[in-house]
Symmetry: C2
Subunit: 142 residues, 2 copies
DNA sequence: TTCTACTTGCAAGTCGTTTGCATTTGTGAT
DNA sequence: ATCACAAATGCAAACGACTTGCAAGTAGAA
């Protein structure tokens, strides 16, 4: 879990805190997430880094960062997998036409409602994660 | 959109209402969804139907049923795509270990909260769909 | 500086899904 | 009933996202 604004934090410290060996690849991947403060996928990263990092390595890095909690997966109903820095809890509104994304904050009311769902549940007594994404047409596409 | 309990409705009427030619394949696919009242994917359908329907046809049928609104896609963080009869609005709690699924109803409070999100949004003035799925360990796996 | 375990690149493989094409089938008109 | 034709299906090949095995490179501790 990060606890600073994505734009300016110490990449190396983040890696060390998560017991990673510091490599140019890992620094570059984190930097790409910081520069583009929105969900991105493997293909985007490869393009942005100009093919300097191998595709397979990008996938391995993303998957590893997700396990350690640096990144979180986001379901955007696209054909490939998107990740995001796991720094603050929010969700997305996604334009189904142009792909435009707007964030919205998780709030206490939503949390309360989800807790109530779990209380009412017969099969579950706690939940660890949830996805909540809205889909529609943005003002431009509409 | 269906408006009857999934267990007992007229498959042929459903197809006709949606301007489909009635074929054994389509009837069998709908029936599989009715019998197994939960999200299922292409592989499951092929197995249940004993390979009587070609894999490619199953994919084509699912995709077509989704477009016409008979089915809805469900994001369950699995490696393949799951669908569900689009008959009543609900969400899921999914066990990340064994895959057990429990439904919970969409309620007015959740709808209100989501409407508020849209009101606060700068880029969107309405949404068409949303996903809301909870993930955790069920009582058995916990 | 050296050693070792971890990381990376490359190429091949996997898996879910899609597509092109030839054949079959449902349905409305005859 | 039968016909004609558009639509649906099966088959095999292709596709795209992702994974894996292995050999070579590299970070970091000693």
């Amino acid at each position: 879990m990060l606890n600073k604004k994505p734009q300016n934090f110490d990449f190396k410290k983040l890696l060390k805190d998560n017991k990673y060996i510091i490599t140019p690849t890992r620094l570059a991947v984190i930097e790409t997430f910081c520069k583009n403060n929105r969900p991105i996928g493997a293909e985007f990263i490869c393009k942005k880094l100009n093919g300097k990092i191998n595709e397979a390595t990008v996938y391995r890095t993303l998957s590893s960062f997700e396990k350690s909690g640096i990144l979180r997966k986001v379901d955007l109903r696209k054909d490939s997998t998107y990740f995001e820095l796991n720094n603050d809890h929010h969700h997305h509104i996604v334009c189904t036409k142009c792909g435009e994304i707007e964030d919205f904050k998780e709030n206490i009311e939503i949390e309360k409602l989800l807790k109530k769902v779990v209380v009412d549940s017969k099969k579950f007594k706690s939940i660890e994660e949830h996805s909540l994404e809205l889909f529609g047409l943005c003002r431009v596409c509409n």
